[in-house]
Amino acid sequence: MLEGLIGGLFNGISIGAVLLIVALGLAIVFGLMGVINLAHGELMMFGAYTTFVVQNAAKSMGGIAPDLYIFAALPLAFLVAALLGLLLERTVIRYLYGRPLETLLATWGVSLILIQFIRSVSWPMVIGLVVFAALFFVGRWVLTRYTDWDRISSWANPVFLGLSGAIAALTWFLTQSSGSAQFARPWFGARNVDVTPPSWLRGGITLGNTLQFPSARLFIIALTIICLAAVYWFLNGTAWGLRIRSVTQNRGMSACLGIPTGQVDAITFALGSGLAGIAGFAVTLLGSVGPNLGGNYIVDAFMVVVVGGVGKLVGSIVAAMVIGITTYLLGSGTMALLFPPSDFFQPIIGFFTFFATTSMAKVLVFALIIAFLQVRPAGLFPPKGRSVEL
């Protein structure tokens, strides 16, 4: 009985840890900044694919590299996702602050682009993109230096865009058709790829007769705790954290205090995106990696942030754990075992047995969350006190 309880609790916490690490980046981007970033899951996916690439590189190196690759993959996944997030913020989102509906549509579009990019990215495509960037940006830079750019920009911009686009497309087409099949093949393709955890994360720790703690799950729990501590320290213990908290609460006044709000936005968004990358890294330990990976997690992540109370880190933690444990207890059928098998309890046992599958448990959890949000629309930890009314 005790072993069962501990085992159930562990499994619930490990589901909660995955939820939490996925939701952590969103808690910053959505919770603090108020940006609804539907491409958050795709940033995760990029983190996962970064891990895949690093793993392949480690495999080809041989030796002990395949056992240690995750220590290179972790920072790289963070960096790749953070840079991609930075690019997204600078080019799209910063023009849409305070306009949630437009942000929602734009980031959804970006998420579709990113999914298709992963499916079809190949050497010819990368060469085409590099050619485009070189022609367009370098060409424009040269023109701004040597001509009266302000005067000609109205027609020069579209002309440049069209010209460099056409040349880039031609380069793509030519390299695609002339190169070898090996060269022109997509890097990842549309199918799922597998990331094998290093050997020391494949086993588990066994306690007693039946208790099994898989190493990968323990690793994710530890990683979640470390990430939480790091985020907490960054937000509450550093000068940039103070700036972030100030800007997210009152952008206009923060600017009047001398805080460069644009920079703060970029850093906050990059941090949230980087955490999505780490989440992507973490979920590679649990299953295969595919272009649609983001979609599987984004709903759960939003759910955690909303149930926890938007803008509250501690709310996300509690919400992730409660949802994780509830999901496990319902899905594994543990709830049905709590009642003595008498005729009186039969309907309740039947009820819990009915919901004792992963998908049905999710249905019940969603129903519970909807009911919960009717009672407490602001989530578990709504902000309190006089400051709320201001």
Binding site: R245, N250, C256, G258
Partner: protein, 250 residues
């Protein structure tokens, strides 16, 4: 009674006035809010902008801070044209802003609210980890509530915090927008005394928008505004009851 301040011949940072606004025109959409406003704030002086509600005083301050951008006209800070600069850049140049409604950051503690005021130092000074003692001498009440949330303070305490926060950035020009609005009389006197003390000890310039007559009289110069234009100005000593009746009384 309309006497213009002596215009500086040179735009040298040493001799230029702290702030010089000339020919400022501002529109909200199609409505013309500020019409050809010009004003000068000399170094180390306190200038008060008076006028009834809705004549454009706050709009004027927001233009100086860069929160709003004027269509035409020039704003010079220490001789440098700042029209195109963002609010955060102007703050780092040395304009400290205490807006109407205080705008204390609600979910930061009082200490954090004060520390973040140092953002305006930019490259002009060194950021300190602790709040200097002078701040508590000006506003003793803040010392007792350092760990309270800024948003949980009363209106008067928030006002004192907002002024202290601006002072933390060691501004050269302090812009105060109705610091006594909606605040109980005893605290109005505290705030007034603190602002006077700040001007005396630090020698900074102050631009004050105020309805409270006693506070207005503390200033060196006044500008009176009506329907978006400056209609009168001069030393505050010349501010007679007639003028006040005309421009201030509702």
């Amino acid at each position: 009674m309309t006497t213009t301040l002596p215009a500086p011949a040179l735009q040298d940072p040493m001799t230029a006035p702290m702030l010089e606004v000339s020919g400022l025109n501002f529109y909200y959409g199609e409505s013309h809010i500020l019409r050809d406003v010009s004003m000068t704030i000399p170094k180390g002086q306190m200038v008060c902008l008076i006028g009834r509600n809705g004549v454009g005083k706050t709009t004027m301050l927001k233009n100086i801070m860069g929160v709003l951008r004027s269509r035409t006209g020039e704003i010079r800070f220490e001789g440098q044209v700042v029209n195109g600069f963002s609010p955060d850049r102007r703050a780092r140049m040395g304009i400290g802003y205490v807006p109407q409604g205080r705008e204390v950051i609600p979910r930061l503690t009082v200490r954090e609210n004060l520390i973040i005021g140092q953002e305006a130092l930019g490259s002009r000074g060194k950021v300190q980890k602790e709040v200097p003692e002078e701040i508590y001498e000006l506003f003793p009440v803040l010392k007792t509530m350092l760990d309270r949330m800024g948003g949980d303070l009363s209106g008067g305490q928030q006002q004192q915090l907002a002024i202290a926060r601006a002072i933390m950035g060691q501004p050269k020009l302090l812009v105060l927008d109705e610091p006594t609005e909606g605040i109980q009389p005893s605290i109005i006197l505290d705030i007034e005394a603190a602002v006077k003390k700040i001007v005396k000890t630090t020698g900074i310039s102050v631009l004050l928008v105020e309805q409270h007559l006693h506070f207005v009289r503390q200033a060196d110069y006044y500008y009176a505004m009506q329907r978006g234009t400056i209609v009168a100005n001069g030393p505050t000593s010349e501010l007679t009851n007639d003028v006040i009746q005309e421009f201030l009384a509702v």
